[in-house]
């Protein structure tokens, strides 16, 4: 399969050693966000709006301030003015200004000598509101007469005359759409809706912030990106970035939701007001659900033309998404990813980013892609059924290959969609017979994967072991995969490499662990850093041997004469070189920083079998198969883990997860009891097939595997339910009640 000509014989890459952080994590020693404490530390609590939309007329904090043990209270008045663009959005979301924009919007914060005291003080803060009309649903929010959430929030992309809550507008495509639809034997158009879901990481946001009157500060925080935290906190508080040092804790899940700030600036603002005493803030679960995350909700029209043989002739998508009270719904990514698996000559995309009275949406695993896939893949499946075509064959027939123009514009480089679909066709799950009330669904999914600013350092210790400093927090096992690659590259044991996720003072800026970039980008940079050290070790050996450094090469963990002409010397191991580096020129290290190039996109396809209880509409997942192109699986266990975890998040989104709002605009399900993420007994084992079409842009062929897996479950399950019941659900989640209603509508 080495179509890029990469070496496929590896000593370590592709093996499954124990993860380096495993012992700490099974013994309770690993330190997460809420596990840090400092001497003199205070505890913070946040007062949040009970209204979806209201003017703040007055905030009276005097009773709270008078409470014994309360050391600081902050409101928006404590923040600098004059911010613009996304900086203003972040500040406004951190702490409400003139208006509260959603249920859960922060209004004030308190630091006190105990958590209980801080909570008591919060209850003593009196806020006068003038409640305003609110809007929750995206199709309501886009109406011309909808309550206006913020005047002047639209950017230059929005033409005159659009409804007031449309803040971004986009339109792109190519080809002759009319001719394409005319050439089709079947043209179908439908509307699909998805509800907002939360990333649902089990660890609530937590931080300890400390800042004195000199505006020098420190922060310990659970985050996907310490430099993002630094940049955003400094923007919101008007601080100098280099004066704030941010140390990432172990992170208890993120899935995109920990790439931005929420209450982190509050801890710094409170600390500064409390004479520099550190302030810990730990969110409750209901705060997490009301005021962080979630993803956008979408309302999506899709129109597709198909020939009798399954060939797609034209496609059009018009997506409307709300991402809360701020711009940023991933309608763009949804449009880019929706048709990405298909070769199309005529395609048009239209997107609206719409404000609504909900929390500011944050990235969630392949942001936008699951919604786009739900709409597009569902319609493709409906048309396959109507024409009596095999859904896998239709996907194969229209599959994009290397060199094809993507639906969104640029040509694809090396991709593995065809290989993925071949693996699906050959899998035994497709041969399993289906019984009554059972159905099977297939869908594809896409994610670009991402590069991003990356800075990595490595150094050789005197005993020949190696430490690597990276800036991408390890969420799913990246320290294991990075260690494997560096050890492979150096020709040393896996155990001899320690990868540390370091604080902002230790490296240049790094983008967070997001977009499936950590193993790709930090991995590539780690290897390039290692190359510098290898070059230096070869030079030291050459010096010792008295030969030209060019005549030394690195192999099997040692410097070796390159070829017979270089002279006869026994290999000089890394341990030997390291042991005397003090006498041969000092420390040996390597460093690399760049915007790494060579990102390889990842396609996947899922097959799900379900059984639907015809009397209750309850869907049970019987079998689940994930097939995805990893490029190369550095540590296959953690690649499988990404596939399985992504699939189960998608299953939750498809079946039960949703933000439920009351008439009053308040979130009705801000606890895990009612925000129903899948539990162990809801699921079967999740079968995986790792397809490896190596990415030529990475030394070991890595593509990035984190995101694609959340995408196909939404449409795949809808299609399986269709087959099981005859009813097509076009509005997520497919709760038992909705499935039952659709079945009844089908009967009548």
């Amino acid at each position: 399969m080495a179509k890029d000509g990469l070496n496929t014989e590896f000593r370590l890459v592709g093996t499954r050693p124990n993860r380096p952080d495993g012992l700490d994590k099974v013994t309770g020693r690993a330190r997460y966000g809420a596990d840090f404490s400092l001497p003199g530390m205070l505890h913070g609590a946040v007062l949040r709006s009970p209204h979806a939309h209201a003017k703040i007329l007055k905030i009276d904090t005097s009773k709270a301030e008078a409470l014994d043990g309360v050391k600081a209270v902050v409101t928006r008045a404590d923040f600098p003015e004059g911010l613009e663009g996304e900086d203003w959005n972040l500040q406004e979301n951190t702490m409400a200004g003139d208006k509260v924009l959603y249920d859960g919007h922060a209004v004030a914060a308190v630091a006190a000598t105990s958590k209980l005291l801080a909570e008591e003080a919060v209850r003593l803060i009196e806020v006068e509101y003038e409640v305003l009309p609110h809007v929750i649903d995206v199709d309501d929010a886009i109406k011309p007469d909808a309550p206006v959430i913020r005047e002047g929030a639209s950017d230059a992309s929005v033409p005159e005359g659009m409804p007031p809550n449309v803040v971004r507008y986009m339109e792109f495509g190519r080809g002759d759409l009319e001719a394409g639809f005319a050439a089709a034997d079947l043209v179908r158009e439908n509307t699909y809706k998805t509800e907002a879901t939360h990333q649902g990481y089990i660890e609530p946001h937590a931080c300890v912030g400390q800042m004195g009157s000199d505006a020098k500060g420190e922060m310990w925080v659970c985050t996907q990106g310490q430099w993002f935290i630094r940049k955003m906190c400094c923007a919101v508080l008007g601080l100098e970035a280099s004066q704030l040092r941010v140390t990432p804790s172990e992170i208890g899940g993120g899935f995109g939701g920990k790439t931005t700030i929420f209450m982190e600036p509050l801890s710094l603002a409170l600390s500064r007001k409390a004479n520099g005493r550190p302030v810990k803030i730990v969110m409750s679960r209901s705060e997490v659900l009301r005021a962080t995350g979630p993803t956008a909700s979408g309302s999506m029209d899709v129109k597709i033309g198909m020939k009798k043989d399954g060939t797609l002739t034209a496609a059009r998508a018009e997506f409307r998404m709300q991402g809360g009270a701020f711009p940023g719904a991933p309608v763009d990514m949804a449009l880019y990813c929706g048709f990405a698996p298909y070769k199309l000559d005529a395609v048009e995309h239209v997107g609206y980013d719409v404000l609504a009275n909900r929390p500011k949406c944050a990235a969630y695993r392949a942001p936008g892609s699951p919604m786009g896939a739900f709409a597009v893949e569902s319609l493709i499946d409906e048309m396959c059924r109507e024409l009596g075509l095999d859904p896998v064959e239709v996907r194969m027939k229209n599959a994009v290959r290397e060199g094809d123009q993507s639906s969104y514009g640029p040509k694809f480089g090396s991709i593995g969609l065809v290989e993925v679909l071949e693996a699906v066709k050959g899998h035994s799950n497709l041969a399993e017979p289906l019984g009554p009330n059972q159905g099977r669904g297939v869908a594809s999914g896409y994610w670009f994967n991402h590069n991003g600013e990356t800075s990595v350092s490595m150094s050789i210790a005197a005993d020949g072991t190696v430490q690597v400093s990276v800036g991408t927090p390890d969420i799913g096992g990246s320290r294991a995969s990075l260690s494997l690659m560096v050890a492979e590259h150096l020709g040393i044991p896996y155990e001899d490499v320690r990868v540390n996720v370091v604080e902002t003072g230790s490296l240049g800026e790094n983008e967070p662990t997001h977009g499936s970039r950590a193993t790709f980008a930090s991995g590539k940079a780690a290897i390039l850093s290692t190359d510098q050290a290898i070059k230096e070790m070869c030079r030291r050996a050459a010096n010792e041997w008295g030969i030209d450094p060019e005549a030394v090469e690195w192999a099997d963990g040692a410097a070796q004469p390159a070829g017979p002409n270089a002279g006869k010397f026994p290999p000089m191991s890394i341990k030997e070189i390291a042991g005397k580096m003090g006498e041969t020129g000092g420390p040996i290290s390597g460093h690399h920083e760049s915007l790494p190039e060579g990102v390889g996109a990842s396609f996947g396809a899922h097959v799900v079998d379900v059984e639907v209880d015809p009397e209750t509409g309850l869907t049970k997942i019987l079998r689940y198969l994930v097939v995805q192109d990893a490029g190369r699986a550095i540590h296959p266990s953690y690649v499988e883990g990404q596939y399985q975890g992504g699939a189960v998040q998608g299953i939750g989104w498809a079946l039960n997860e949703e933000y439920i709002y009351g008439e009053d605009g308040r979130l009705q399900n801000p606890i895990f009891l009612d925000y129903r993420i899948p539990v162990a007994s809801d699921l079967p084992m999740i079968d995986t097939v790792i397809v490896e079409v190596p990415n030529p842009g990475h030394p070991y062929g890595v593509r990035g595997v984190g995101e694609t897996g959340i995408t196909p479950p939404l449409p795949a399950i809808a299609s399986a339910i269709h087959q099981a019941t005859g009813a097509r659900l076009r509005h997520l989640p497919m709760t038992p009640q909705k499935v039952r209603a659709a079945m009844k509508a089908q009967d009548s």
Binding site: A156, Y169, E171, A363, P410, K411, R517, V599
Partner: protein, 83 residues
């Protein structure tokens, strides 16, 4: 200095007198973006708000320094973000 065709998204046509592909002379992504604004000043707020550039299929946020060459495939895209 290379002459390159920059593919915009269709929604920007109203800012470019109807052009969806704009040909500019530039040696880097940064020069390319500046040349776009020079040719069509209406694009400035869009570019300032943050976009991504797909250069031969590789998607960049920022990277104004990145060299471009004759014949490169260039698409402007909405700002890329990941989870």
């Amino acid at each position: 200095m290379a002459q390159v065709d920059v593919h915009l998204w269709a929604g920007l046509r109203r800012l470019t007198e109807g052009a969806e592909v704009v040909t500019v002379e530039a040696a880097t992504i940064g020069e390319m973006l500046d040349a776009l604004v020079q040719a069509h000043p209406g694009l400035k707020p869009i570019l300032d708000a943050g976009i991504s550039v797909a250069l031969n299929g590789e998607i960049y946020n920022g990277a104004r320094h990145r060299a471009i060459a004759e014949g490169d495939e260039i698409y402007l895209m909405q700002r890329m973000k990941g989870g």
